[in-house]
Amino acid sequence: MVRHAVLQLAPEKGQVKKNLARLEAALAELAEDAPEVVVLPEAFPTGYFLQGGVRELALAVEALGERLDAIRRRVWEGPLDLVIGFYEKDEREGAYYNAAAYFELGGRGLLHLHRKVFLPTYGVFDEERYLSRGHAVRAFDTRFGRAAILICEDFWHSITSTLAALDGAEVIYVPSASPARGFFGPRPANVERWRELAKSVAAEHGLYVVLASLVGSEAGKGMSGGSLVASPEGRILAEAPVFEEAALVVDLDFDRIPPVRYDNPMLADLKSGLPLLFNDLKRVVEAL
């Protein structure tokens, strides 16, 4: 069992110090629950909609890691794994990314940096105007198992989670920031869509999906929350309310993955079937 905590928090726009202080207070509150992995939403240190302000507020991943480890030393005993979405600056390239890092704080430090591949640039979104795309989806090893990170729209394309699963991921961490829209039912349509996606991806590949979704009001856009953890059968193990700050504390039992996959061997079938389809995949991609 690996205890996870999802922190569904509302950052204040542009207030990096204040938001990291908020994280520190939240971790102090979580200490009694002793999670081993804490997962934060997309763009947590700054808020999501920054437009050109990305350039003023983006953080280098090394500097972020140092600040997070300083927080851990103040409020935590022992190591802590932390997944956090943030705007990243690569100073050598002069490039900015919507990124998420997996840190083993108090241990090996940065284990993985995922740069968002699918940058929504339609409707209310304008990411590609300000950010560069990442070009990779890779699973990586943590001290608990094998994981992958996908950020928000990355996860809305089933091919990314398929890649992560084929690369061995047992858990996919999904920091997101999803403005509420479509009030046709008790919960906004985007929240319902996220829930369906998380359940179906988890069940298709027999892995855990941990969604950390931002809350807060960003100039009229209500970031919707509804963070959740889905089990390898596609069951919701914990779910946060919409629009409010909340913490989910869930034990992930990675030992359940093999038996669940044995009963529902979709991933094994994919591994057998995908090579048969590879030529067609290549054909349609090359025709793009």
């Binding site: 207030q15 050109g52 046709f184 209500g222």
Partner: protein, 284 residues
């Protein structure tokens, strides 16, 4: 054999009004909080939009934190003030009445050529002046009441009734405001009366616009989403109605923007230099 017939897909204007009410209540709380306000200020006209904003403000902030203003002019329909009182009473808020006749007539006397249309705009801008002045006096944020239909049609006085910095209704069509108003308990007399700006004696919105809201809103939703005219006609709308809607939207885009600035640099505000309105960095 059991036959099951599917429901055709299509655009949906009907909303889950309890969910919308909860969402907009939270929206008002959050938008006031980061601006450093605990109180809101609503100009209550006696119509359904301002009644709905008032109801949301009371839900969000409590009646003790909401100032309701009635801003009548001597030419206003007396039923408007009576309905404003009815609304304030329904939501447990005291109604402060500030008569704008002297303000408006003071200016009008200087311009004997003033037309009813121009005077109507002066009334709307006089109300804006009172609202912003009392906002400072009460440290209460002015809350907007303009709905999406009138915003799209440009059916408002520029820098007048569109001026409040926070508007919970601006993305709801008029017909959706009616649905929300019912959910929030806005008195039936106010919900059912013909909408009017009451800037010119005897006017109604639907006469001015030349189309009924229940028809306009469906056309608007499809037009905004890019459906071609023939698709909208197939839903039962006449070509002249569709044309009227498109005409109103397309001659008023400027009213939904800040004034035009001549761009001469690569740091022109809102053109090159883009920051969201809630953007603030921490200074060392």
């Amino acid at each position: 054999m059991r036959k099951i017939y599917g429901v055709p897909g299509g655009e949906v204007l009907e909303l889950d009004y309890p969910a919308v009410a909860d969402y907009l209540t939270g929206f008002l709380r959050r938008e006031l909080a980061w601006r450093g306000y605990e109180k809101g200020l609503v100009a209550v006209s006696g119509g359904v939009d301002s009644a709905t904003t008032l109801a949301l403000a009371v839900r969000a902030l409590g009646p003790e934190n909401v100032h309701a203003l009635a801003l009548p002019h001597a030419e206003s329909d007396p039923r408007s003030l009576a309905d404003a009182r009815r609304v304030a009473e329904a939501f447990g808020v005291e109604l402060e009445v500030v008569d704008i006749t002297a303000m408006v007539e003071g200016y009008a006397a200087l311009r004997p050529d003033i037309t009813p249309h121009r005077k109507g705009n002066v009334k709307a801008r006089a109300r804006m002046i009172v609202l912003f002045d009392l906002s400072v006096a009460y440290h209460a944020l002015p809350l907007g009441t303009g709905n999406k239909t009138e915003r799209l049609f440009g059916y408002f006085t520029w820098h007048g009734d569109d001026a409040p910095p926070v508007n919970p209704l601006g993305d709801l069509y008029k017909t959706q405001v009616w649905g929300l108003a019912e959910e929030l308990g806005v008195p039936e007399e106010v919900r059912k009366k013909p909408p009017t700006a009451d800037l010119i004696p005897g006017q109604t919105d639907e006469d001015d616009l030349g189309i009924a809201y229940v028809r306009a809103d469906v056309i608007l939703e499809h037009y905004l989403k890019g459906y071609p005219d023939r698709y909208i006609e197939a839903l039962g709308y006449r070509p002249e109605e569709i044309r009227r809607v498109k005409e109103l939207v397309n001659r008023t885009h400027y009213k939904r923007h800040l004034p035009t600035v001549a761009v001469v640099s690569t740091t022109a505000i809102h053109e090159f230099y883009l920051r969201p309105l809630d953007f603030r960095i921490e200074l060392e």
